[in-house]
């Protein structure tokens, strides 16, 4: 499909590692139709000063390609006309760049709440803000429907966002999300920064995925500069990424059970999670391993004591975790809450290219470590688990299996870590801008990074796409027809990032 659409075009020579082509509006329409027919997956869509870029993935051939369309007179053709998952992305581009998408079915602002002093903040000439009319939630009509507004400040220790439930008695008829509360202006902050400064910002897009974000940012920058990180750094990066996956999966498995009022699993999983974080602190000097992956390599080495801490963690998880899995499986009251709850259909998961555990629990066998293998996963492939059910239970099981796979992968990796330097100096482009893109599988799903670096090594444009962009809409679908009391359970089984989405 990608070949049929773009075979006759030559790619921009400055973009790496996969090709980027300039499309006209006719071809953009062709992309929309291919997305609608399910022949391509949309992996990202973001704005630029005079262009809109997208990344497309063809599952049949495992090919990936970036395409760009020029913005003329402030207007660009819409993909959302054909492909619903593009809708919020286009609304956000409109908010940030002031680009109008012709035919966009939902023209409401998305992350712009009308409070920023200048608008649009990333346009060439932003103007003082005119007040926005109140946000219009979608209507649900019928006898005895009532609305339940929740947030932005939620009841637990979680991030802010607004949920508008329309319910009929106990049953949720519609959930509509209103996000953007944690918008920190990350795209603008990255503009003009040096690579090292930008790396600090990238590591804080979503704190729970800090390793994955540093990883993907470093890979995009290194792709642009055609730089090869040293082998030891490559392996240490993946060791950190798997540790982050293990810690988060353990936390999520416990938290899902807690939201089904089974606090014992939560307490036991929280102990294992804390032990994982402590092992990370011993091994890499920071509990979340923030800023340990840097463009050019890694900033911390793994000493023998750290290696022993990680191996002692894997032994402990191997000993304790099977008992907890058994507990999860054999507790009828818990299974009663998770099995058959919050189903995401296989068709919907495919349409939204559902990232991570949510996709793999709904039959989408995509994991960036396997689909577009990057070092060191190209020589040390991971195992993945795919389930067809699409309910909360399936999402828990995918996490359980992945935790065990990651434990095995870590043990094998630690047995044969290459020696050598940790970090090498980056070359900087001298005369023209260079561009790079990368995809990294975080615990939540695939994270996409795009970086354009100008002469002198300053960031000209950088965009980081969190998996949550494609997960939040699926949560709305998953809760439909379930009872209100099962929302926390469904929500936790997705565990979307607000910060990563709002940027």
């Amino acid at each position: 499909m990608l070949k049929a659409l773009f075979g006759d075009l030559s790619a921009t020579p400055t973009h790496r590692p996969w090709p980027r082509v300039a499309a006209d509006s006719e071809r953009w329409r062709g992309i929309g139709e291919a997305l609608r027919e399910g022949k391509l997956d949309l992996l990202g869509l973001w704005g630029d000063l005079a262009a809109v870029h997208c990344v497309l993935y063809e599952p049949a051939t495992r090919n990936v390609l970036s395409a760009s369309v020029a913005v003329s007179a402030g207007k660009a053709p819409s993909l959302a006309v054909f492909h619903a998952p593009a809708s919020r992305l286009e609304r956000a581009i409109g908010d940030l760049f002031g680009i109008e998408f012709v035919g966009l079915p939902d023209p409401r602002p998305w992350i712009d709440h009308g409070l920023w002093p200048l608008h649009p903040p990333l346009a060439e000439r932003p103007r003082p803000r005119a007040p926005l009319p109140p946000y219009r939630f979608l209507q649900a009509q019928g006898p005895s429907l009532h609305q339940i507004p929740v947030g932005p400040v939620h009841a637990g220790i979680i991030e802010p966002g607004h949920f508008r439930f329309t319910a009929s008695g106990e049953t949720v008829v519609r959930l509509e999300e209103r996000l953007g509360y944690t918008h920190k202006g990350i795209d603008k902050l990255l503009d003009g920064k040096s690579i090292d400064e930008a790396s600090l910002v990238a590591a804080r897009v979503s704190g729970d995925s800090t390793v994955a974000y540093s990883f993907v940012f470093a890979r995009a920058v290194e792709a642009a500069l055609e730089f090869q990180p040293p082998p030891r750094a490559v392996w240490l990066r993946a060791v950190m990424a798997e540790l982050e996956r293990i810690a988060n999966h353990l936390g999520d498995i416990g938290a899902v059970c807690n939201d089904a009022a089974f606090s014992m699993m939560h307490a036991e999983c929280a102990i294992l999670r804390e032990e994982a974080l402590r092992a990370c602190a011993v091994a890499f000097g920071h509990r979340l391993m923030m800023d340990r992956i840097v463009p050019g390599g890694v900033a911390a080495d793994l000493e023998p004591a750290g290696r022993e801490a990680i191996l002692s963690l894997t032994r402990r998880v191997r000993r304790q975790f099977p008992e907890l899995i058994e507990l999860y499986e054999n507790t009828a009251s818990l299974q009663d809450r998770t099995v058959g709850t919050g189903v995401v259909s296989t068709a919907l998961a495919a349409q939204f290219a559902a990232p991570g555990c949510v996709g793999r629990a709904s039959g989408r066998s995509f994991d960036a470590r396997l689909a577009l293998p990057y070092a060191p996963y190209d020589v040390a492939p991971v195992k993945i688990t795919v389930r067809p059910e699409g309910d909360v239970d399936a999402r828990v099981w995918v996490r359980i299996r992945e935790t065990l796979h990651s434990i095995g992968w870590l043990e094998a990796a630690l047995a044969s870590l290459p020696r050598g330097p940790l970090r090498l100096p980056l070359n900087t482009p001298t005369d023209a801008s260079v561009e790079g893109s990368a995809l990294v599988e975080g615990f939540r799903g695939d994270i996409l990074a795009y970086a354009r670096i100008g002469p002198g090594g300053r960031i000209e444009r950088c965009h980081l796409r969190d998996p949550s962009w494609f997960l939040w809409p699926l949560l709305e679908a998953a809760i439909e027809g379930n009872i209100v009391a099962d929302f926390p359970l469904c929500n936790k089984s997705f565990n979307c990032s607000y910060s990563g989405h709002d940027l």
């Binding site: 709440h113 409070l115 200048l118 903040p121 991030e159 920190k184 902050l189 804080r204 897009v205 507790t331």
Partner: protein, 179 residues
Amino acid sequence: MRRRLFKNLFTRPCTEPVSKGTAALEVAGAQLRGVIARSLGRSLAIREVDAGSCNGCELEIHALSNAFYDVERFGIRFVASPRHADLLLVTGPVTLNMREALERTYAATPAPKWVVAVGDCGAGCGVFADSYACVGAVSKVIPVDLVIRGCPPTPTDLLQGLLELLSGGAALGVNAKHA
């Protein structure tokens, strides 16, 4: 499950005692309890507010409740509503989109109340401080009694920080800042 419960009867708790080398944490907890007991009876109710953080601080605040730190043994607990809270624990660089929600949460918290800004972002020195979309320090929006820095602060830092507020902040109940 019965087997697991039975087994746990004979396992030592992983909550860390004074003698196990985390004295700072335990002492912090013991002193904290004294101050809270004098001013608030036996409990300190905390409402956490994320004012645009990257969620790193939330992860470590969550960890306070795990079996290793177990803040509840000191009478500290997290509550679901600001109306039930004595203290707001605020994270993030206060995005413009969260500013009003933070002000309203503060207004909904009954006096006497305290505010602790958590993390480098809440302190106003995080990586997002210069953004068009952020106010900056929490203290630019509501009065702050204590700042706990760190990116993110560890659970031990958080507990010690709360102690500093409650032992140093002396005049509990009559806090001019929040009058």
